[in-house]
């Protein structure tokens, strides 16, 4: 399969949208484009399984290389393993849902959908990249659409949030940039041909002192994207000011770019440093989990609740990565996917509620189950997934992370695991409290009584995301199998190339 199609499909759609006239045509073309992406991703999944079943056990499948900047040895190099396939699938699902919930966007709808599609092209490219330059290129591509989406269509203090998000994420990129250059110039020996090629670099061993210097740049740089404490401050502002679709994308996909980068680039290419820095990573992740959970308790705005809880949940990703055991890393990747679906669904539900009631304050909502049963249901599903109810994806991911963490016998690691587990209780408190107040009880304001339930497009978006959550929750094996080879190769690689045993 030609993987470049995944990047080209949204780009072509974006250009097509620009030439559309009339709101309806813009919507339908965007939806068609997103559906093509979805079909392509499922096609990729099927092909991937077929290849694997046929006994193809190469680390990367469907590789494609094209010289880009030959004098600098920069290639456009793409390929997928199980982890990338899963992330691509997640992106396609969230994208489809994001387009569906944006049906009601009327101001500058053409620009809105174009930017949204542009954003997804960057995410696909990022997950496909096997060349670090290509990867960095796609990581940075998202700055323009994110800034404009939040700043133009957002709510609240949107300009401030857009600026903060753009600057903080670019700082993250700047750190990644330094780390990448450090890697590049330490490949191929003095004066030799340097390379950005991930596959080539992964066969090299960097001296411990090189890893020690450049690992923090890469990890912290990608970490900023995934709300690494103390660089998480863009998350609440950015998520809550963004329009619904952008929030879904930011929390669902964008934050996962960071986790994927930490794993694929920082930990994979510099396993020794990862081991050395692991206590620090665990410490920061635990702080993020506990602090995020407590901060969520104090929030009154639904979007802020989800944003802060995202900090807490993304802490699990970093915790899993920092533990460096097979199970924990598999759990971290599962958490990326589970959180991507869950948070997108949550933001979608919040957006739908806000569209109707024009408030997101928990105190001013109440009894929505009676008025809008569908929206309330997906709200509850997302909430329960967030607090880790068995049968939903959140439980599967978190329990895997905890089991993997417990395998690490160090005292500090044990303590971190216990604290992280305990934070689930706090999660339950804020989720149940919010759900109770918003969904249950008497209808708070009389004018809510006449409000309509979800329209067809919103229902479709909710069902799509909800189905994903339940599919993972009920039958986690397929996802586990999909991820296993990728996670396995990361750990094999870490053990094989490690200098310090």
């Amino acid at each position: 399969m030609n993987l470049s199609l995944l990047v080209l499909a949204p780009l072509i759609t974006a250009v097509a949208v620009l030439f559309c006239r009339g709101l309806n045509r813009v919507r339908w073309v965007s939806l068609a484009g997103a559906s093509v992406q979805l079909v392509l991703s499922f096609g990729l999944l099927a092909l991937y399984w077929k290849e694997r079943a046929a006994g193809n056990d190469a680390a990367m499948l469907f590789e494609y290389r094209h010289a880009w900047y030959l004098p600098l040895n920069i290639w456009y190099h793409i390929g997928v393993d199980g982890i990338s396939v899963a992330m691509i699938l997640l992106t396609a699902i969230v994208m489809e849902a994001a387009i569906l919930v944006s049906w009601s966007i009327k101001t500058m709808s053409k620009e809105f959908f174009t930017l949204l599609l542009f954003l997804s092209a960057g995410a696909y490219g990022f997950f496909l990249s096997l060349d670090l330059f290509t990867l960095f290129f796609f990581l940075e591509v998202s700055v323009i659409p994110k800034f404009l989406l939040i700043g133009v269509w957002g709510s609240g203090k949107k300009e401030y949030s857009a600026m903060k998000l753009a600057l903080m994420l670019t700082s993250g990129s700047a750190l990644v940039f330094i780390g990448l250059l450090g890697l590049y110039y330490h490949t191929g020996g003095a004066g030799g041909p340097h390379t950005f090629d991930w596959v080539t670099i992964s066969q090299m061993q960097f001296p411990a002192e090189v890893q020690r210097v450049f690992f923090p740049f890469l990890f912290a740089g990608f970490g900023i994207f995934t709300a690494l404490f103390p660089f998480h401050t863009w998350v609440p502002d950015g998520h809550s000011s963004a329009p619904t679709a952008a929030s879904m994308f930011l929390a669902g996909i964008s934050m996962k770019l960071g986790g994927y980068g930490c794993l694929r680039v920082a930990v994979f290419l510099m396993p020794d440093a990862a081991r050395e820095y692991s206590p620090l990573i665990i410490l920061l992740a635990t702080i993020a989990i506990v602090y995020g959970a407590f901060a969520t308790m104090m929030q009154k705005d639904l979007k802020y609740i989800n944003a802060y809880s995202s900090i807490s949940h993304c802490g699990f990703i970093l915790l899993g990565i920092g533990m460096l055991t097979r199970t924990a890393i598999a759990g971290a990747v599962m958490q990326m996917i589970s959180h991507g679906l869950m948070t997108a669904l949550f933001f979608a539900a919040i957006g739908m509620i806000y569209d109707r009631t024009h408030t997101r304050l928990v105190g001013r909502l109440g009894g929505l189950l009676k008025i809008m049963p569908f929206i309330s249901t997906i709200f509850v599903i997302a909430g329960l997934c967030s607090l880790g109810l068995p049968g939903l994806s959140g439980f599967v991911a978190e329990i895997t992370v905890f089991m993997g963490s417990w395998q690490h016998a160090g005292e500090m690691y044990r303590l971190a695991t216990i604290l992280a587990c305990a934070s689930i209780v706090i999660t339950a408190v804020y989720i149940l409290r919010a759900t109770g107040q918003v969904i249950m009880g008497p209808v708070r304001e009389p004018q809510y009584n006449g409000l309509a339930d979800a329209t067809w497009n919103e229902k479709l978006a909710g069902i799509l995301l909800g189905a994903g959550i339940i599919a993972i929750g009920v039958a986690p094996f397929w996802l586990n199998d999909l991820l296993a080879s990728g996670v396995g190769s990361i750990m094999d690689h870490a053990e094989k190339t490690s200098i310090i045993k």
Binding site: F136, F137, E140, V143, F147, L148, E159, M163, L167
Partner: protein, 470 residues
């Protein structure tokens, strides 16, 4: 003999030919239509640009005074392209101007000066070319004839230029005293790094630093950019600076190769100072022209970072960046020029709500600014990436760390403008503007350049194949 002469000098001769043609029109014609002249000149500049692509071979003329090779021809052609874009953008402003012919006479004279400067094989030739370009530039700065600010800018420019020329001449004379020659190749052989030679070199460097507005020699930049007509500011920031950078890197990498260890440290220091100062001052500007002036100072710092790479990639990245910079900066200046010509508004606050009335201009501005900030998929990203990548070639990661931090700072003020255009509103936004054909064409070239240059790797490959290393 003559054929070889003409062929080697063809770019200079074509531009000189255009100058004479315009001069004859000026002297001979009793009356002419401004629009006709503008179309004629733009056509000729286009022809000049296209003719520049004709292949050439290396040759040395006038007993070593004038060199030419593929790299120099390419550099001159990059300047040709920039001049063409600027000329297209100036259409709106010049349409209502009384002295169109004089404007082009002066503008093209500076271009010829730059050409000779780039091709110089001798310090005298270099100085001649530089002065040929500097003095008409001062006249151009005062081309907004009714504005006092414009004359003030010209005055400032001529004073600071004179000062820098004096430094340069002093350096040249000392260097002559130290080495006994003005010839570039011979100077290179006779340099031994003595204190006297270093002193001469530093004077020479200061002269260069003035022209490319490197801190601490940047003080003239913002005032001159602000006072001059936008077209001239654009020319100063792109063509003038680009040409001097071309010569600068050539001279450093060939003539002053023996002093590489010395200038490396100086350049790192100057680069950091320039980036930081340019960016910090740009943060507080309210006028777009001043903002672009300080941003162009900061960009000089980034280019210096590329030069410190002292390798073939360094040379290639600088030339590549200047090409990209021409597209990006001219895109931004083009919008400012058009809006300034039609409404007279130049403040960032005036741009609030521009998107509602002029979506096309807004997108051109946004794409150009994103390219200046170095955000992909624009070409500016590739340009900056390669500059810093070359700069880190010597293993100085702290330096590049500071540069990367500066990229984040610079993003803030570029985003401020974009924020004003797309997100804010004001009671009296700029009305709907009509964009004439030629400026529209210029925007198309800029935007196409910004989007395509980075994605097409062969542009860089070609530049790299011609570049020189230390």
């Amino acid at each position: 003999m003559w054929a070889g002469f003409i062929f080697s000098l063809r770019q200079e001769l074509i531009v000189t030919g255009i100058i004479f043609l315009l001069l004859f029109i000026k002297v001979g014609a009793t009356e002419y239509k401004t629009a006709v002249i503008l179309n004629l000149v733009n056509g000729l500049l286009l022809a000049n640009f296209i003719l520049g692509f004709i292949g050439c071979q290396d040759s040395i003329l006038f007993s070593g005074m004038f060199h030419t090779n593929k790299l120099l021809v390419l550099e001159k052609n990059i300047l040709n392209l920039g001049t063409l874009i600027i000329s297209l953008q100036a259409y709106d402003w010049l349409k209502g101007h009384r002295q169109v012919l004089e404007f082009y006479l002066l503008l093209l004279a500076t271009l010829v000066g730059f050409f000779f400067m780039i091709s110089a094989g001798n310090l005298l030739m270099f100085y001649l070319g530089l002065e040929l370009s500097t003095i008409p530039l001062a006249a151009l700065s005062s081309f907004d004839l009714e504005k006092r600010q414009s004359s003030e800018a010209a005055m400032k420019f001529i004073m600071s230029s004179a000062f820098s020329s004096a430094l340069l001449l002093f350096g040249i004379s000392l260097l002559y005293g130290a080495t006994g020659t003005l010839d570039f190749d011979t100077i290179g052989q006779r340099l031994d790094g003595s204190a006297f030679q270093l002193f001469a070199f530093i004077l020479l460097l200061s002269g260069f630093a003035f022209k490319i507005s490197v801190v601490p020699f940047h003080l003239w930049t913002a005032d001159v950019y602000e006072g001059s007509p936008v077209t001239v500011s654009a020319y100063l920031s792109v063509i003038s600076k680009g040409a001097v950078f071309f010569v600068f890197i050539q001279v450093l990498y060939t003539v002053f190769k023996p002093l590489a260890a010395n200038w490396y440290r100086i350049l790192v220091l100057l680069s950091i100072l320039t980036m930081v100062t340019g960016n910090l001052f740009a943060l507080r500007q309210d006028k777009l022209k001043r903002l672009l002036a300080f941003s162009s100072i900061a960009q000089s710092g980034f280019i210096l970072a590329g030069i410190t790479g002292s390798s073939r990639t360094g040379d290639a990245s600088v030339i590549y960046f200047i090409l990209v910079y021409i597209f990006s900066n001219l895109g931004a200046f083009g919008v400012v020029s058009l809006i300034s010509a039609q409404t007279g508004k130049e403040g960032i606050d005036d741009y609030k709500g521009l998107y509602a009335t002029n979506p096309l201009l807004s997108w051109v501005m946004a794409i150009s600014l994103f390219s200046l900030a170095g955000i992909p998929p624009t070409a500016g990203f590739f340009g900056k990436f390669f500059l810093l990548m070359a700069g880190v070639g010597k293993g100085n990661y702290v330096f590049i760390g500071i540069a990367a931090l500066n990229m984040v700072i610079s993003l803030y003020y570029y985003l401020r403008v974009i924020k004003a255009i797309f997100m804010e509103s004001q009671p009296e936004p700029i009305g709907k503007l009509t964009i004439p054909f030629l400026p529209n064409l210029a925007f198309l070239i800029c935007v196409a350049g910004i989007i395509m240059t980075g994605l097409m790797g062969w542009v860089y490959d070609y530049i790299y194949s011609l570049s020189i290393g230390l």
